[in-house]
């Protein structure tokens, strides 16, 4: 390559194209893997093109730009976060299925190369954690939390845009790596020295490094934003101990993000210094020490686990209460338990590497600390059961997920305690048992929580219910698919099968692998069911509209406004007197009232900061991956100028006049009055337009 080309393209060459090796080497393995990789790249390129063509054809560029990309509205940003999460979820599930299929045929071989398999498990893990789970829960908190505390927006709407931009940039980088390969094979944890330049000189690790770094920065900013919002923007009377449980878990998660993300920033930052500037932090030679990385990574990694699981705990708390038609049992205890978990989560990181040769006392101490987390978690599970106890339980789609969660999660908890026992961990560490355990926590816990939340709050966000029949199918496919896929992995782990193996040589593994492969197919069906559900719901949106805003006889403030809510959320900020604020209003017959007078509302103005930072972030990361220094410097300068220029902007708000607020609010109230109130037996029918009958029927107080 000539100097000029390398100045422009860095180390990016033709061999980065996924079909390149196929052209030179015609062995069946190369061809098969080349075809798979090219197919994936093709899907990315075609997907992007299709999106562009579609928007152009619909003539919606201006709408997209002014109503979405530059919108500071927390609700729209939340939805965009969730869209990113769903796109990435689809990709990561397809990758998971591919890995399961490979291992089904993996006795003595299979059809994937080890390299390809390595990229698959690395992208699968990285995407699921950083570009599925994080954006998903960030999106849902973004959407719901301000509504629940009676706020009009987050504290820092523009920073929220920037968070979205950074996450989008990271996700885009991972997607680009399919077209301009390869990605890292170092696993989502990226342990050095394997990920050091000496052992992995290619662009793969750098893709991983910068994608994760972008996501980390995004999450740190998000955490600050959420915490400040919850502390400072609650409606009058919304004391901390009147906040809905979901908001409580959002607060704990935000605090964990603030303190838990910096260790990862340090870890990836130092690894980047090693790789780019010849530092020796984690190298094998010249005094580097990879154990520092492992400690830093898990000092992030364990709080991260609770960043992921606490919001679902909050979601399930809301769902159990709502669909049992009953106040949550032990509200205060649940809050305290959440806090306990959040604090304890910082004290257990070492259980991720009991086998690293530290003293038995240290291992035992961390093992016991880990088990302590089981106490508040167990209490939460009992609280949820007692919330259903003496209620009137409707088995809606979110509730099916919640039931699946509660039954499967305790099993995962049990295997967690097993892993926390150092003496047993020496056997099952790094094995498929571990994989089964954390999928047992993250699928029933996190993913069911997110899907449950989507079914629960979708009508609030869009104004129409998600179709239930396909919803049930998806939920059952998820539950069954999960059990079929991951229970065999427990057994395989007990038989000593290492994680991340492309192939194996023990015929005893095979039956379990086949079962897991079948399970993966069921999960694929679940994904298809979700897509069908979305499609059918959009098709039937008029029949299922819930403009009145309260399709589930909700308890918290977000159900007190129209669906979808107006940009400013509340025409006047509500005043809160108890927990379950909206339910209290309904009980007293004070729901859906017009305020005495309206005032002008000041809302944040549109801003291009998110888009700018997203693009420059992506450009910088891409430049760093391929050593295109001009791109790095250029994008860096643009970022700097943009940030400084933003400081000079003074017209950061726009005012919505009182009469406009009044008009739209009164229009909604009129609609609510016209809506026929229904009782809960009609909840899933087209009769449900978002207004429940008052008060709760047949209650013994």
């Amino acid at each position: 390559m000539s100097d000029a080309t390398s100045l422009i393209f860095g180390r990016l060459g033709w061999d980065a194209l996924p079909f390149w090796s196929m052209l030179h080497d015609h062995s069946p393995m190369t061809v098969i893997n080349g075809v798979i990789a090219t197919g994936a790249a093709g899907m990315v390129v075609l997907g992007a093109l299709a999106a562009i063509v579609l928007v152009t054809w619909l003539g919606k560029w201006k709408y997209l730009w002014s109503e979405w990309l530059t919108s500071p509205d927390h609700k729209k940003i939340g939805i965009m976060f969730i869209v990113i999460a769903l796109v990435m979820l689809s990709r990561a599930i397809i990758e998971a299925v591919l890995m399961r299929v490979q291992q089904t045929f993996g006795l003595d071989g299979g059809f994937l190369t080890a390299e390809h398999f390595g990229e698959l498990f690395t992208t699968h893990g990285t995407i699921m954690i950083f570009f599925m789970a994080m954006p998903f829960l960030t999106g849902i908190i973004n959407y719901v939390m301000p509504l629940q505390i009676g706020a009009r927006d987050l504290s820092f709407p523009v920073m929220n845009q920037v968070s979205l931009g950074l996450t989008a940039a990271g996700a885009a980088l991972v997607m680009i790596s399919l077209v301009l390969a390869p990605f890292s094979t170092g696993g989502w944890t990226g342990y050095p020295p394997f990920t050091e330049l000496a052992y992995n000189p290619g662009a793969g690790v750098d893709y991983w490094l910068w994608a994760v770094t972008l996501s980390t920065l995004s999450s740190t900013l998000t955490g600050i934003n959420f915490a400040v919002t919850i502390f400072k923007k609650r409606a009058p009377g919304m004391k901390l101990f009147r906040m809905p449980l979901f908001t409580w878990t959002a607060l704990c998660t935000a605090i964990l993000m603030i303190f838990g993300m910096p260790p990862l920033t340090v870890a990836t930052g130092l690894l980047a210094l090693d790789r780019y500037l010849d530092f020796h932090m984690f190298t094998t030679d010249l005094g580097g020490n990879m154990m520092n990385y492992v400690n830093l990574l898990w000092a992030f990694g364990h709080p991260e686990v609770y960043i992921l699981i606490l919001p679902p705990f909050g979601i399930f708390s809301e769902i159990f209460a709502t669909f049992s038609g009953k106040r949550i049992y032990g509200y205060r205890i649940l809050v305290i338990a959440t806090m306990c978990i959040a604090v304890l989560s910082f004290t257990v990181w070492l259980h991720h590497f009991f086998t690293m040769g530290q003293s038995a006392h240290i291992n035992a101490a961390f093992g016991i600390a880990t088990m302590l987390i089981g106490i508040p978690t167990g209490v939460k599970v009992y609280d949820w059961m007692l919330t259903m106890y003496r209620g009137r339980i409707r088995l809606s789609v979110p509730m099916v997920y919640a039931i699946g969660f509660i039954m499967l999660f305790v099993l995962g908890g049990m295997t967690g305690i097993i892993l926390a026992t150092p003496s047993v961990d020496y056997q099952v560490h790094n094995s498929l048992f571990l994989i089964a355990h954390f999928h047992n926590m993250l699928i029933p816990g996190l993913l069911f929580g997110m899907l449950s939340a989507t079914n629960f709050w979708f009508p609030k966000a869009t104004g129409f219910r998600l179709e239930e029949r396909w919803g049930y199918r998806a939920a059952f496919c998820w539950i069954i698919g999960f059990m079929l896929t991951f229970f065999p992995l427990y057994v395989l782990g007990l038989m000593g099968m290492p994680r991340r193996s492309v192939a194996y040589f023990e015929p005893q593994y095979l039956p379990w692998m086949i079962t897991a492969g079948i399970g993966a197919m069921v999960i694929l069906c679940a994904l298809l069911c979700l897509l069908m559900q979305l499609w059918v719901s959009i098709r039937d949106r008029h029949a299922n509209n819930v403009f009145a805003g309260d399709p589930w006889d909700g308890r918290t403030l977000e159900w007190a406004v129209s669906a979808p809510p107006p940009e400013y959320n509340f025409p006047v900020l509500p005043e809160i007197y108890s927990i379950d604020a909206f339910m209290t209003e309904k009980d007293r017959g004070q729901g859906w009232q017009a305020p005495d007078h309206y005032v002008d509302i000041e809302m944040p103005a549109n801003s291009t900061m998110g888009v700018i930072i997203g693009i420059t972030g992506l450009a910088m990361a891409f430049g760093l991956v391929w050593y295109m220094w001009w791109l790095v410097i250029g994008a860096g300068l643009v970022t700097l100028v943009a940030v400084i220029a933003r400081g000079f902007v003074r017209s950061t708000t726009r005012t919505i006049p009182a009469h406009e607020v009044q008009r739209s609010h009164e229009h909604w109230l009129e609609q609510v009055r016209r809506t026929n109130p229904i009782d809960r037996s009609l909840e899933q029918t087209t009769a449900n337009h978002g207004r429940p009958v008052p008060p709760i029927e047949g209650a013994v107080q």
Binding site: V266, L277, P574
Partner: protein
């Protein structure tokens, strides 16, 4: 639902460092949020430095036969940097007082400029230090210990650089918009950052320089 204003209910948490004038309750709430948010960010940043300090300590033994602190550090220069930074914190304090109690902008700008000059002087001495370390073979690629040093101390330097750029930007904003509320909040937040960096530097000076030379 009642139409009670937020500020009637919980309005007594005005930020003491601000002087935004009367009858700007809404404005003050926004500013209060920004300052609080910045504190939260500082906590996150503090974790970053804390972890780097911890990493540095664990890497003390990783000199791999290369030069150690005794061979590389000069107490005099580090002491000069410390004094410069401490004085700059003082001058920033004077600027903050001018912001709060004085109407004339000149005093504020002068103190800020003095602070900026001190910040730049600090950076100059720090770079000079690095240069002399490089001359003595103290480059980050030499050993794990030096890598840890160069991941900790220059990060502080980068923070100071960013703070200087921010200061210049704020002066620019003041020139364009006058001393309005966003500029005041900006100065307040920059002050937090500046004092924070001072504290971090005291940590670096005691742990890295004094600890290394003792």
């Amino acid at each position: 639902m009642s139409s009670t204003d937020t500020h009637a209910l919980e309005g007594n948490s005005r930020h003491p460092g601000l002087n935004l004038g009367a009858a700007h309750a809404q404005e003050e709430d926004t500013r209060e949020e920004m300052v609080f948010g910045f504190w939260v960010f500082m906590m996150s940043d503090l974790i970053l430095f804390g972890l780097l300090f911890a990493t540095y300590v664990t890497m003390l033994g990783g000199t791999a036969g290369g030069p150690g602190p005794q061979a590389l550090f000069e107490l005099k220069s580090a002491f000069i940097q410390t004094m410069i930074l401490l004085v700059s914190s003082f001058t920033f304090g004077m600027a903050s007082l001018a912001l709060k109690y004085r109407e004339d902008r000149v005093r504020l700008v002068v103190w800020l400029l003095v602070t900026l000059a001190l910040g730049l002087a600090f950076l100059f001495f720090e770079l000079k230090d690095f240069h002399s370390m490089f001359d003595k073979g103290g480059v980050p690629s030499r050993s794990g210990y030096l890598s840890a040093f160069f991941s900790l101390v220059p990060l502080h330097g980068l923070h100071v650089t960013a703070a200087c750029i921010w200061l210049v930007a704020l002066l620019g904003q003041m020139a364009v918009h006058g001393l309005d509320a966003p500029v005041k909040t900006g100065i307040l937040r920059l002050a937090i950052l500046w004092h924070f960096l001072d504290i971090v530097w005291i940590g670096i000076f005691s742990l890295v320089y004094l600890g290394g030379l003792s």
